[in-house]
Symmetry: C2
């Protein structure tokens, strides 16, 4: 089954303890690469003017980053219009854009089997009513631990998750960077560690890669059973672990399905233990 | 097989965001409880004078704590002398005391099957040569992530572990509080999340409970195979999860083997996923 993703293509400037990468990603070259991977770009709007730009700086502890600058530019007046062919997509992922724009996408899809959404501190703090309205329509929320704390007002992740589930979503995945991910759905909890890497070059995009791996596995397998969702979370963790090995999307450019499946099996040996 | 533990019995005063507990643990009442659990106390030295005292304060983020005060008192001149019956013990755990004292215990045991040790920032910073000498004699080191960073000079846990293994230990377990634990042995890595708790009352002693669970399982099963060590780490995580549910050792007083085994099985459902 296919997957519809709504989000933005931005130009990032990244500073990490491992180096600086100005003006990565974004622009036509990126779109050509997407197309070469079999991604349908009919719905991508290219506007004249300056691109959306974000500059971020990571601390020595790369779990912490500061936004140095953010310019919406052409993105300021974006309003998603889905091509007719997109409206019956079974799996929908609403990447991190304003909740009103995420809602506008939902208004245009007919009967999606699963909708996942991301959000961030900016929308939690400045457009809370819009976000609350969106959450009532989103079965699967995928956010990081800081966002979960901010959204719920709870520091404890179990309580944070419980509060978030009371806001609408049936389940929530909480991304914790080098500490892996937690998944709460009803009374069920799943925890997966991050793949231990000797060198993390650039954590930017790890959360998106995680979401891509999760939604991509669910859409390609069509298996949304509890076991299928757990596998999807491990695929998300695999994709995130590759993304952070190089700046921007560099590592993903050369990544093969075989490498992905090999690392999935490494997650099994990383986490497996048996009943005594 | 039996397990020999060397350490101290202290009186703690604890302040956490959930409350304050003055003067917990320590003294004769504690020893009586230990005896009731089948612990051989022949080697415990009770000295006249004021007990070892530690006062700690936990932040809202309970992964962070400050030492408010530390008084060695009668412990200042402690030197461990093992009863003859202890010298053939197969499993030895050197809890967190000065490395010269830990070494003195090792000098007195004959041919232990496995020796595990803990240490802390104080010894890493002030008695490094003693600690380095000890590490060459300790096959299993169990420390927390901050201690691993301090000992290795590396912030990345994979690199930290590799450096520590080059110092002598065959394997290292790194405790990460609410983020679980990592285990490095040769090229093998095992990661286990912490049990997700809705309320953490007091993290004091979680590291010791983890070590107790690990060493206790290894000693009682006699299984030091890679699969046995993984099971031991899960038992350690189970014990740590119970310890933090109440102040001091309160939760451990009423804990049953059945509760422990039930939570072990919950760790399986918390972490299990299969091959697609």
């Amino acid at each position: 089954m296919s997957l519809l993703v709504v989000g933005s293509v931005a130009i990032d400037t990244l500073e990490t303890p491992r180096g600086r990468a100005p003006d990565v990603l974004g622009g036509r070259a990126e779109l050509e690469w997407f197309a070469s991977r079999g991604i349908d770009l009919a719905g991508v709007e290219v506007k004249p003017g300056r691109s959306l730009r974000w500059t971020g700086r990571y601390h020595e502890d790369m779990n912490v980053r500061d936004t140095v600058s953010f310019e919406a530019n052409v993105f300021a007046h974006f309003s998603p219009e889905l091509p007719a062919a997109y409206r019956n997509t079974a799996f929908v992922f609403l990447a991190n854009i304003a909740p009103t724009l995420q809602a506008r996408v939902l208004d245009q899809v007919r009967a999606p089997r699963l909708v996942g959404a991301d959000t961030m501190n900016l929308w939690i703090e400045t457009t809370r009513a819009d976000l609350d309205a969106l959450l009532r329509r989103v079965p699967l929320l995928m956010i990081n631990d800081e966002e979960a704390r901010l959204l719920s007002g709870e520091t404890n992740m179990v309580r944070a998750a419980r509060r978030i589930l009371a806001m609408g979503p049936e389940s929530v995945m909480i991304k914790r960077g080098e500490y892996g991910a937690l998944y709460f759905s009803g009374e069920s909890v799943f925890a997966v560690p991050a793949y231990p890497l000797e060198e993390v070059f650039d954590p930017t995009g790890a959360g998106d890669a995680f979401a891509g791996g999760v939604m991509g596995y669910l859409a390609s397998s069509g298996d949304t059973s509890p076991a299928g969702v757990r596998r999807a979370i491990v695929y998300g963790s695999v994709l995130a672990s590759f993304t952070v090995e190089a700046f921007s999307l560099e590592r993903l450019r050369t990544l093969t399905r075989d490498e992905i499946d090999r690392r999935y099996r490494q997650f099994i040996s990383l986490t497996a233990f048996d009943v005594p």
